[in-house]
């Protein structure tokens, strides 16, 4: 019996599994996404002379509304139109969710209980790995749009593919500019090199701005909510989806935003600093506490992104692409150059 528990515990806390499924992966992501969705609705409501979600749990300020929505989505009928490509239609949202979470598996949240015994050599390049995995998910949005066999979905999917090509390079460049100063692709080293006020975001604002806006671009946040833009293409690639599948697709964008926010919290906002766990620290002080700090920072980044919903409308597709290619790409390149200069001078 005790052997079984030990075995289970080992499995549960085996970093590749724990990271992906518990924290910062699926479970933590769901909790934070639910909080962020609530915050987004409440913040928009505050700005917009409204109250926002309230009636489900008046004492919690309506925080349980999202749970209620989730329950409603799960009990809603999942309608499969006659003309869709069935296999792709069902697989796309699930793979989209999975692909949005994949970067979690390789994002370190603590310097001490790291991957040394999992994949020691690969983890030296965890920034590159995370970036590569983060760019995987848009393909499934396109698949969802294509499989729906609906003109609105198709237009949405085409828009999504335009947006993907626009943001990826920017995001990758912006994050690579944080790797240059520390001469390493290891996020642990990038975090360790920063200190409380020597934040990468302050040292290299162009790169941070580019990464921030690229995140909005990639997760259709305002002002770039173009693929799902309701007033031309209904729900874009997700027009034909209903019930839980629709919930999954909508959640996937937020989970992706969450993954990218965690990356940005580590690379630009010094991750688990001001905590400084030493080798040999226990699970609580060595792993859980830094994890919480990282998640709080990521949540704040996401909250700021959510707040933009209340301030901006949406750009036209060509304007968003113009912004991405002509303004943000040079900005990201500038950030990268700054990063190279720091690296050459050895500032960090």
């Amino acid at each position: 019996m005790s052997g079984a528990i030990t075995w289970l515990g080992e499995w549960l806390f085996w970093p590749p599994f724990f990271q992906l499924v518990i924290a910062p992966g699926l479970v933590a992501a769901l909790v934070i996404v639910i909080f962020i969705l609530w915050f987004e609705r409440k913040a928009a409501a505050r700005v917009q002379m409204r109250v926002g979600p309230y009636n489900v749990s008046p004492r919690l300020g309506g925080a349980l509304q999202l749970i209620a929505d989730l329950v409603r989505y799960s009990f809603q009928e999942f309608i499969m139109p006659f003309t869709v490509d069935r296999a792709a239609f069902v697989a796309a949202p699930l793979l989209l969710l999975l692909a949005s979470m994949l970067p979690m598996a390789v994002i370190p949240v603590s310097p001490v209980l790291p991957y040394s015994y999992a994949w020691p050599n690969i983890m030296k390049y965890n920034l590159l790995l995370a970036l590569a995995l983060a760019t995987l998910s848009p393909i499934f949005t396109v698949v969802a749009g294509w499989a729906s066999n609906n003109k609105f979905s198709l237009i949405g999917a085409a828009r999504e593919s335009f947006m993907v090509t626009a943001y990826e390079l920017i995001f990758v460049l912006a994050l690579l500019s944080t790797a240059a100063p520390v001469h390493s692709y290891d996020l642990v080293k990038i975090v360790e090199a920063q200190s409380t006020w020597k934040l990468m975001a302050l040292l290299n604002p162009p790169a941070f701005l580019a990464a921030f806006i690229a995140t909005l671009l990639s997760t259709s946040g305002f002002p770039f909510e173009i693929p799902e833009s309701e007033h031309e293409v209904v729900a874009g690639p997700f027009t034909e989806y209903s019930g839980l599948m629709y919930g999954v697709e909508m959640g996937a964008a937020y989970i992706k935003r969450y993954a990218m926010s965690v990356l940005m919290a580590l690379a630009f906002f010094s991750g688990w600093k001001p905590l400084d766990p030493q080798p040999g620290a226990g699970v609580w002080s060595g792993y859980v506490a830094p994890l919480v700090v990282v998640l709080v920072k990521a949540t704040i980044i996401m909250a700021v992104m959510s707040f933009l919903r209340a301030v901006y409308g949406r750009y036209r597709l060509d304007q968003a692409l113009h912004l991405a290619w002509k303004i943000l790409l040079p900005l990201a390149l500038l950030g990268y150059a700054i990063g190279l200069v720091y690296g050459y001078l050895g500032v960090l």
Binding site: Q48, P81, T83, I155, H231, E232, V234, G313, L317
Partner: protein
């Protein structure tokens, strides 16, 4: 039953092929057609058939009539006074403006002029309605561009003016306020003070609107040089209202043929040169400012005027004492029973007024009976609908909401 079953080879333009569950027709090489509406978040109660080449619209066909109620026919069967609540259902938040020309046309046929206080009260409600209508339009416009704050703010602030209208008439919308000979209520006590507070509040809010919406770079980018209507084109298409004035045409019924008390009030008609979606939005903002100015003057005037005479003597001189008591106590004008069976002399009348969305014209023909022989109404949105056909092609699909919202098209008003 995958999409791949549709064989593409040798498919002629115009040929219909079957897919499980749908017929597919090829409308042209590299062209495709999408139906925006009637069940679409961006269409309103109408359908816009758009033919697209890639992302660019090449043909736009507005398909109206989804909320058509045949008001012109219904009006032929009802007595004159009953037509007013019927007609105001085309734009319930613009109820006074939209029915005023009808009332004026009937008054022309009856040969009577409303008393001075009634004329000011009509202007009062018309301008409250105009502000509410513009705010409504801006709210819808905001959400069309994905700007949810600009959806909620004007709707929230419209509440102020709806509340004012409610105090004045007793109903939030569909006021049925102007009737032949005068109006139905006088202002309640303390109304003008509340009106002044609302004016001060709205002036401040317009600055907030500018900051969050009109000068917001995202919105600027979406609206500038989109849906440009040149002056000549605007005249040729015969569009009306703020859309016309955004194209540099100095035409406003309050300017060329002042009705009610408008020739005694001091205000401007804002005219913009650009003719694009942004200018059309700015015209509305400027018009709200001018409406606030008019309201201020009307409030001053109403305070100074003696509190009597909101109904023409023809209907009021013989009123029993009870009627006068009710008016003195509640400000409510009771109607003589002859209103139910009003007979209008034979004749034809044409009247126009500047409603929130533009000029509305009525042609009323009477054959001397209890019901009109013919009521022809052309609402502003119906005249603006032509913009879809002639202006939208050539723009990208994402510009369609910008054009739709900027002309403030309101399907129930066009469909009548």
């Amino acid at each position: 039953m995958a999409a791949g079953e549709l064989k593409l080879s040798g498919w002629e333009v115009g040929e219909v092929r079957r897919l499980p569950g749908m017929d597919v027709k090829k409308i042209g090489k590299d062209l495709y057609e999408i139906f925006i509406g009637p069940q679409h978040p961006g269409s309103g109660h109408m359908r816009i058939i758009v033919r697209l080449d890639g992302d660019v619209m090449v043909e736009v066909d507005p398909d109206l009539g989804y909320v058509h109620r045949t008001m012109e026919k219904l009006a032929e069967g009802r007595s004159y006074i009953k037509v007013i609540p019927l007609m105001e259902r085309m734009a319930i938040l613009d109820a006074c403006n939209i029915t005023l020309p009808y009332v004026e046309a009937v008054e022309k046929l009856l040969g009577l002029e409303p008393p001075e206080r009634a004329r000011y009260l009509r202007v009062l409600l018309c301008e409250i309605n105009r502000i509410a209508s513009h705010l409504y339009g801006m709210g819808i416009f905001g959400v069309f561009l994905g700007h949810s704050t600009m959806y909620m703010w004007p709707f929230g602030d419209r509440e102020v003016f709806v509340e004012l209208a409610e105090r004045l008439t007793g109903a939030r919308l569909t006021h049925t306020y102007a009737i032949p000979g005068g109006v139905r209520r006088d202002v309640p006590e303390g109304f003008t003070d509340d009106l002044r507070k609302a004016i001060r509040y709205m002036r401040k809010r317009l600055e907030d609107y500018r900051k969050i919406f009109l000068d917001n770079p995202v919105i600027r980018a979406r609206l500038e040089d989109v849906g440009v209507i040149s002056r000549n084109l605007a005249i040729e298409l015969g569009i009306v209202g703020p859309n016309l004035r955004a194209s540099g045409v100095e035409y406003d019924v309050r300017l060329v043929e002042p009705y009610e008390a408008y020739d005694e009030l001091d205000f401007e008609i804002p005219v913009f040169e650009e003719g694009d979606a942004l200018a059309r939005t700015w015209v509305r903002v400027e018009e709200i400012k001018q409406s606030l100015r008019i309201l201020e003057q009307v409030a001053d005037k109403l305070d100074k005027m003696p509190r009597e005479g909101v109904m023409h003597d023809k209907f009021w001189a013989k009123a029993p004492k009870l009627y006068k008591d009710v008016y003195a106590k509640e400000g409510r004008v009771k109607l003589m029973p002859l209103f139910a069976t009003l007979r209008v002399p034979k004749g034809k009348a044409f009247a126009r007024a500047e409603a929130g969305r533009g000029e509305i014209v009525y042609y009323v023909e009477s054959d001397g009976g209890m019901t009109p022989y013919r009521v022809r109404v052309v609402s502003p949105s119906f005249r603006n609908a032509i913009v879809f056909k002639y202006i939208a092609p050539g723009h990208r699909l994402m510009d369609l909401p910008a054009i739709y919202g900027s002309i403030d098209y309101f399907p129930p008003e066009a469909d009548r």
